[in-house]
Amino acid sequence: MKKSFIRLGVQWLFVLLLLANLSARRVYAQSASDANFLAAVGELRDATFADKENIIERLVQSGHANARPVLTAFLEDRLYVRNEDQKIFLVKSATEESSSSLELIDTLSLKGAGLAPIDQLTKIGTNNHLRRILKTMLARFELSSTDPSVRLNAVRDIEKDLDEGNVRLLRERSGVETDSRVKKELDTGLALAALGDSNVQARLSAISTLRYSLRQDALNKLEALLEKSPDGSFVERDERVRHAAAAAVEFISRWRTFYSGIETLFFGLSLGSVLVLIAIGLAITFGVMGVINMAHGELMMLGAYTTYVVQVAMPGHTAISILVAIPAAFLVAGFTGILIERTIIRFLYGRPLETLLATFGVSLILQQLVRSIFTALNRSVETPAWMSGSLQLNESLAITYNRLYIVIFTLLVFSALLIVLKHTRMGLKIRAVSQNRAMARAMGIRSEWVDAMAFGLGSGIAGVAGVALSQLTNVNPNLGQSYIIDSFLVVVFGGVGSLWGAMVGGMSMGVVNQLLEPYSGAVLAKIFVLIALILFIQTRPRGLFPPTGRSSENQ
């Protein structure tokens, strides 16, 4: 009995020892891989860009669990060296200008390691080549992400580098993928790789997959199949594959041409909508009131600067500040307009030449005023996230958000202006005064007050146009000058005094300009449009939508 107890005890002891031994080995193994990992990360400190590439490779191959977070941080510029002990840390998020210290994260435990002031840290930099490598490397990890859109981007990144290993990864993922969009992208990627397959059937089925993808890289690879090698024989030996590829190339090219036509049309509409936006304000002051306001462009510039000021006043709220800027710019430009009207223009009604000269003077004063306050340098207006990037409609057609929103915005402003003029009391008065001043006064309308309001309305719209322009071009004191000629052209072309004329005129000028540009270049396109306009005005001096009725006779 006693003996068996001892034997059991010895057995247990043996098992315990064995376990202890095993776990000790595991700890040892763990720390060895950790040590390697840390050493590799540490080498990043003073490596050249070429060395960094090797180190990245080694980190991925080490299979260490922390390779991914460290490399992600490296890609996102969040890998820093602490100057005092030369230790490498991840930091919480990218550098914000406002914060002077960063939250450190240990590379091994991935736990917080306190704060460090930013001047005590040195960033480990990347260049384009490294970022590209990192993206493809990380894409392999992200292929198993739970978010389908992350997986989609990962597949796209991997497609840029279709070597054997990556193809195998895509094939494995394709077997378990559930999201239809990712699945489609995977199929395309695999088909792209299969075009080089030695099996004829595999090539044929790859072509039939790629046929509907409309992608440029698919088109390139298919076209490569049809090329002849220097000795005159086809690169692709099999005739069936060549036929299928030729049909696919024709199909893809035809659709791509169609979509690029739509794209050009959109470019034209977006250019046109900018023209319309800057011209409808002028359509009121020039068209309805007959005042040639050379300071119209500077009112737009004021609107753009208002956007800048609002953005500076609301740090960290770029997304909302642009919406706040719209009414603000309307008010700033509108009141400036009323001020100009009350102090200068009202003394000059009926004397177009003097009005032109006086408002030109005002435009110079406004420019210099802005130059004195903000300096002549460009001011940077940030584009909010919801206005950057593009809307991918299909493989070959994408529409940039900022242009899309500006087209929509133009339509909104245009309809708002139509409603104001046609359906409000003020609009009624403006129309009455513009049609017959004496009669309107006889009816008890304060024509002076109406003039000021109409001028303010036109100027306010110019300010709103400035908000839109701040998203497209530089905000500087000369902003207005570059658009004033175009806006007068649109108003004259469309028909003086007609809002619809400004709309149709601006849009058609934009589209014609963009249609001509690919063939003639930007300079000639502009000249052609100008010549066409002059010829048009020769035959129809009153523009597209000439003013009709009795009021037009005394003009």
Binding site: N128, Q216, S388, G389, T400
Partner: protein, 238 residues
């Protein structure tokens, strides 16, 4: 490089409607070959160009843009985030880590009373130029223009990046060449640099028309001496 692989386009000065141009670049770049844009865009037209590039999702990793006229001062006037990774070539960057440069930046910030103002390549050029002029005046003992010019060739002064700027007989100086990548804060990371300084050349050795022309103000006293015809064209140069 095949002629079909090069696409050249010119636009008016101050152009702002880049959408069609950038779409063409995107199309050109998707042909499967390594593509880069060499941009000679000057001044204001740069901002809408880079914005459009970013909006059409052309990243510097796929199609980098090398610019010759975008420096720290220009970047300070625009939102640099869409530009990250694009390249610029200069002889000086504010981010270059030398003690001379740090001292210069500190002095500049005290002078302008604004720690956010940047330094840039033209400023360094003036720093070198003024120091060289001072040395030339000291050597010539007068501020007489002709004598100062005669004293200039051969003079040396340290530049801000740890090199020596030397005035050559052709009145150009030696400078290092750096290629930098735009960072999100509007500064540049140097990604390539020449070994030491490069002597400035007045005439290209590649253009057939310029091949035989040399500038030498010390022995030949001529800015456009033709080695083949042994004549100095002077002001009548065509």
């Amino acid at each position: 490089m095949k002629p079909a692989d090069i696409s050249i386009n010119y636009t008016p000065f101050g152009y702002s409607d880049w959408q069609a141009r950038v779409a063409a670049i995107k199309q050109f770049g998707s042909a499967g070959k390594k593509t880069a844009v060499v941009s000679t865009i000057n001044g204001d037209a740069n901002v809408p160009f880079y914005k459009e590039l970013a909006n059409q999702k052309i990243s510097a990793e796929d199609i980098p843009v090398v610019a010759f006229s975008v420096g720290e001062e220009e970047l300070s006037g625009l939102d640099a985030k869409p530009l990250v990774g694009h390249l610029a070539a200069w002889n000086y960057f504010e981010s270059i880590n030398t003690s001379e440069n740090k001292a210069f930046i500190a002095k500049w910030h005290t002078f302008i009373k604004n720690p956010k103002r940047t330094t840039n390549d033209p400023m360094e050029a003036h720093y070198i130029g003024f120091n060289l002029w001072v040395k030339a005046v000291q050597k010539a003992g007068t501020t007489d223009v002709d004598k100062v010019i005669a004293a200039l060739p051969g003079l040396e002064t340290p530049d801000l990046t740890g090199g020596i700027a030397k005035v050559l007989p052709n009145h150009h100086i030696t400078k290092p060449v750096y290629i930098g990548e735009v960072r999100a804060d509007g500064q540049f990371d140097v990604v390539w640099k020449t070994n030491g300084t490069v002597p400035g050349q007045a005439w290209s050795t590649y253009l057939p028309a310029d091949k035989d022309i040399v500038a030498d103000w010390v022995t030949l006293k001529c800015g456009n001496y033709n080695k083949a015809t042994k004549k100095c064209a002077g002001q009548n140069y065509k």
